[in-house]
């Protein structure tokens, strides 16, 4: 499964991951991820026909609880670590054009 990873692929993955990488980081990632993926390719040697994936070591499913209203984090505490707020909301850059 491990074709040699190309720089273009790494760039595409960086975009998907929302990571701005420098040219040097892109080069470094291309080499090192390639080495790691080559190592991971050893999994191809294992016959996994009829094997169910193990997502969790404790195979719980559908953990239910009652839907009860409880106090939530006070607004000021929720905002306290935010990079930018107006005291009531988290502030982000404009995402719509003024004409929209």
């Amino acid at each position: 499964m491990s074709d040699k990873l190309t720089r273009a692929e790494v760039l595409k993955v960086a975009k998907l991951a929302r990571l701005k990488l420098t040219d040097a980081e892109l080069d470094d990632c291309t080499t090192k991820l390639g080495t790691i993926l080559d190592y991971v390719a050893s999994l191809d040697d294992v016959n996994t026909d009829d094997v169910e994936p193990l997502v969790h070591a404790v195979e719980l499913s559908n953990v239910f609880r009652d839907d009860v209203v409880e106090p939530s984090l006070p607004q000021q505490a929720a905002l306290a670590n935010a990079p930018k707020t107006d005291g009531r909301f988290f502030l982000v850059p404009q995402i719509l054009d003024a004409g929209d």
Binding site: L19, V46, V55
Partner: protein
Amino acid sequence: MSIVGATTTELLARFERGDLSSVEATTAYLDAIALNDQRVKAFLHVDYDHAVAQAKAVDAKRARGEPLGKLAGLPVAVKDVVCTAGQPTTCASRMLKNFVPPYDAHVVTRLRLADAVLIGKTNMDEFAMGSSTENSAFQVTRNPWDLERTPGGSSGGSAAAVAAGMSPLALGTDTGGSIRLPAGYCGVVGMKPTYGRVSRFGLVAYGSSLDQIGPFANDVAGAALLLEVLSGYDRRDSTSVDTPVPEYSRTLEEPLGGLRIGIAKEHFVEGLDREVEQSVRDALEVYRSLGAEIQEISLPHSKYAVAVYYVVAPSEASSNLARYDGVHYGHRAAGFENMIDMYSASRGEGFGPEVKRRIMLGTYALSAGYYDAYYLKALKVRRLIRNDFDKAFESVDVIASPVAPTPAFKIGELIDDPLAMYLSDIYTISANLAGLPGLCLPAGASCDNLPIGLQLLAPPFDEDRLLRAARMFERETQWHKRRAMEVGD
């Protein structure tokens, strides 16, 4: 007797007798931090006044004759990936450099209820990703036995703090060996509980199906006592399991009759250091002399564990770390062109190289066209690894192995070779994939006087027997009495 060289049992007995106060003990550890931590660099935050204030409160409670918690007056250091309300929790990342959690993690609440003294937050590999504590954005922690070497990772700060007598107890987290490996390198006891034994509420997530919080101590009794306090169901973590918590510290001294110990032939292969192998074999002789039966077992898929882990853990990490977007908390870049660019620039600046690498690896493994080949394939092999253990535990009670192929490596030695670094976890990683409890305790020393650890693994929720098996060995040997650094008091 030295305070900072004492075990938790000795400290609690002295508190009880009234010949030592928590303030005196806490002050002795704070003095040790002041004296040694400039060199060891185990701590990211120490709040001296706050620690003494907590100790004073416990002493006052004791003086009034009020009921006290199980850790009353004992300092505990906490890995900086566990949220402490009102105190910084940075995950050793630039991303969370200024983050102050609004709430306590479940385990921190448990510590407070047990009357522990929270002495400080310890250094780690950024977001718990690493095996050497060199991936911290702030400082490199050094091994108290040899300052040129790493303490292991990712809980290197916690392990070094206990080994250097800067705290009698500490919390770590273990996703692929991050408690057991540093315990081995630093010559202390470290334990990863069964997945689901300890609530992860308030633990900053790395690999959510693998992460567990666990104890460090300088003997098995200390680890048992701390685990007892940490364990138990918490509805805020839907993967925490609602089964009774045995009083581990109470049954600890009861030896296990007819103990069956498995050794896997796959664990004794090329790459294993001769002195490490010898220490493990010597440990098996100790067990044999106590009447234990040693059986060879096979874990045929164990050689794939590191490959499975480096698909599963980064995949989970890439999803978990998507929350760092520069909006609700964490670093936001100063310059950007639009919203998407703000995300990318903030993340590019906030994360260090290993974290970026794992996010990239996970994003790749989960991306269209690769999901089946990598992620699904890895989960299937994960099942086979678990099946190997289930089969082995039909005939043995615990599995003994080295904790790492070598004693502590040198700082800088593996930093440019991620794959070689990953392979230092070759003995520990399977337990996380299978969800098993594992423990590492001191069991030898190299010719350079570096600690050598013995790892014991047990079936899920068999912590009680795991601790007792460890204690059987400890009682017969002196390795746990060695101290890396002593401070007069």
